[in-house]
Subunit: 341 residues, 3 copies
């Protein structure tokens, strides 16, 4: 438990209200109760300022709060709130440490210092596990795979042989790194498997959600750039290259050999054709289907994806189709009338 | 093996045919053979009534069967058939019982009576497993997680720490409950992880398919209401709330903080934007993309989702576009002709 | 290391260049370096012929290469390249052999010769594992399931009881075979589970990607025909039947009881309604939503899916909508002018 005064010292901002007010918990503004700190950032949630039971709210600089409420004005309420949660509710040590007697580590695996290799984790010969890295139960690390320092691999993850993962990478449960690319050569209607001999390389500070699949390259590497964050159930095909600090939201699929630049944002359930290049800083709308390469800073949506403004414009016209037909009918009627004359 | 007479006594309905006819198996109407009981409900399958080799068919009250066929008239053929299958083909005891010597149960876990904790299942300290609950191999139950009574968790499931699961919940293989929500705060193009400290709470009688992902709340809870059924490969983001008795079909994605009411039906491959509310009893068509809140009993489809009738109407107009262009050309030509005069 | 002359003898084709040139590696044309063999097939990549650092390139018969480059003319450069990779970079023996002491094989399981049952794999009583088959760690084989000869099952796979898998089948990590179909009978708003008593049957030479889900039939069988290849994160519902030698690309979903013929190609993120039939040799475009049965050799796209040419045509008209409105306005203005006169 901390006072509001102490919290402001931790997270910055300007307090308006009772510095001695005690904060014992955290919650979203719509279900916060007395004792809780909360925050408001998007306009959508500002209406709750008048009804919240929270003991204090972090708000943007330009918002006028009800006079009765303890508030912290902050340039970035969301960030300040995250910092307060981080500082005041330290997570109990949920990760285990050490090598569990039921871990299966083959001879010839190289294990760093201060690791956790949990019960029923398997590390194959020739694999390297960096210092401070944690492997939960049912994690499989294939032969000659390299996992960097301070990584966190949750249960039921498969990392196939020769894949390379950087430092401070977090991978959530059920994710598969380095399964074979989907490649066949078809002869007389039969599909012959093309050997998939490449690997996957994942940069530092990448986070990958649950049940994601990232296929190994046919030859060469499938690459996930440093700092990129990937949500659940995303499919990344063989030989895809994703630049640094990109964001790929859930259930998106990226076809083989396509390249995304740096700082690209892909909203949920989008899809990309193969062998195209998406320029740095582009934004791809939810459920877009991108079929062609895009220059840097493109903002697209729809299927086939096009400039987002153009797509909204076409959608507006689309909704006018009944009106268009009516006006066309009227003109034709007028035309007929005239011909009668 | 039972006679038709015995089956009618079990499932109700009115028999027309040979009560002594012996039933030895069950099949769909298009591949049933002599000795099988089958059923017909949808109109699509009624054509098979004349050609089926089944020994008997359960049919709706208003259907006229071929005179040669043994039939049971029933208000709900599908239900009656399910009851017959349930009663006559008791599943062999496929679930194991007891605590397997190779299960890994940490000190401080609380285990109910008559459970099965199978080989290579892991239960962390502080977790509770209710009476009669079955954990298959490679199930991971995190610290302080609570699993209710009579639950069934198939292989390769991860339930993260502090998540709470009700009674009689069935979870299929590969599903992940309580992975981190996808939340970052972006500063100078770098994405900083926002701590995800909340949990997931799943009501009684919920069933969750294979390879589903349900993320924990940032703060507070992601909630799946009692009686709700979720199909395979569905993505449920942090802080989502789903009401009671809803149906979410495969590969649907629900973005953060969105709320679905009770008895909502979502068809396959649909998507929902974040921070919206879907009213009770709404029906969302397959592949819809829902971007706005919807009042109760809405029926929507398309992307962006709109009233289903309106969408069908617009689609009909869309298909007329070639004709619209032709008519426009004709009018313009007539106009030009006139101007010539 | 082999010479170009030796490679041509292995893969066929006609060499133009230095037969003694030594090849030490393989790469895509855009990142090949000295010593590498590469290939070009699609037009998209031909531009790299002038700039590649590769020591040799396999090219189609009708392509004119820069005179300075060692080339092998070949009817199918992609196939020739795959054959060269296969022959010259033999994979180290990454699969283990034998039964690991930490495998859990119940009494009454029938295990073939020359198998690998790896650490922490579980094989239930009554299951059969064919000769030469490899089960990686955390593979679960349910009671009475049958796995054929020379299959390869990667980590974290669940094969439920009574499912039958043919010979030479490859299944990638995280995939679930035989989870319950999604079937409920709804009464007064409550969803009662319909027992799912059928199985899954998978033919010879099938390959299934990572985190795929294939549900068991309600009664009867869900069937994947011989030679069919399924990409990652695909959902195949109960009682679906897929013919021989079909291709299903990633994140596609096929609803219950739908049948696909032989040699059907389904591009990524497509969806199929239930209870429909898709004729042999059909091609379904990416992100299509197929709602109706299709005759053999159909080529469709869009949602609802229609003839692909027709869909492209409608899309072209759609993009003309702003122009249509403008022309309509002009006509109306002309009409008004006239009425003034």
């Amino acid at each position: 438990m901390k006072t509001l005064g102490e919290i402001v010292q931790l997270v910055g901002g300007v307090l308006e209200g009772d510095a001695k007010c005690k904060i014992s918990g955290f919650a979203g503004i719509d279900d916060a109760k007395a004792g809780d700190l909360t925050f408001v950032e998007s306009k959508k949630y500002r209406k709750f300022l008048n009804s919240t039971s929270a003991s204090a709210v972090i708000i943007p600089l330009n918002v006028k709060p009800p006079s009765s409420l303890n508030v912290i004005f902050h340039r970035s309420p969301s960030e300040a709130f995250a910092a307060a949660v981080e500082a005041l509710s330290p997570v109990e040590a949920i990760h285990r440490s050490g090598i569990h007697p039921k871990a299966e580590i083959e001879d010839g695996a190289v294990i760093g210092k201060n690791v956790c290799i949990d019960a029923y984790a398997v590390v194959r010969s020739g694999a390297k596990i960096g210092n401070g890295t944690i492997l939960y139960p049912f994690v499989y690390i294939g032969g000659k795979a390299v996992i960097g320092n301070n990584c966190l691999l949750y249960p039921n993850i498969t990392v196939h042989e020769r894949c390379v993962i950087g430092d401070k990478v977090i991978i959530h449960s059920g994710t598969v790194i380095g399964s074979d690319g989907f490649g066949y050569s078809t002869k007389h209607g039969k599909h012959l498997k093309i050997p998939q001999r490449g690997t996957v390389e994942i940069g530092n500070d990448v986070e990958i959600g649950s049940n994601v699949t990232i296929d190994r390259a046919r030859i060469g590497k499938t690459i996930i750039g440093q700092g990129t964050k990937i949500d659940n159930l995303v499919m990344i095909a063989h030989n895809v290259i994703i630049g640094e600090d990109s964001i790929i939201v859930a259930q998106t699929g990226i076809s083989g050999s396509t390249e995304l630049g740096r700082n690209v944002t892909v909203a949920g359930q989008a899809g990309f054709a193969g062998h195209i290049k998406i320029g740095d800083g582009s934004i791809i709308g939810a459920r877009s289907g991108v079929l062609k390469s895009l220059p840097p800073k493109s903002i697209v949506s729809g299927f086939p994806a096009m400039n987002h403004r153009k797509e909204l414009n076409l959608l507006a016209y689309y909704r006018k189709l009944p009106e268009v037909l009516k006006r066309l009918n009227d003109l034709e009627k007028a035309e007929k009338e005239k011909n009668k004359d």
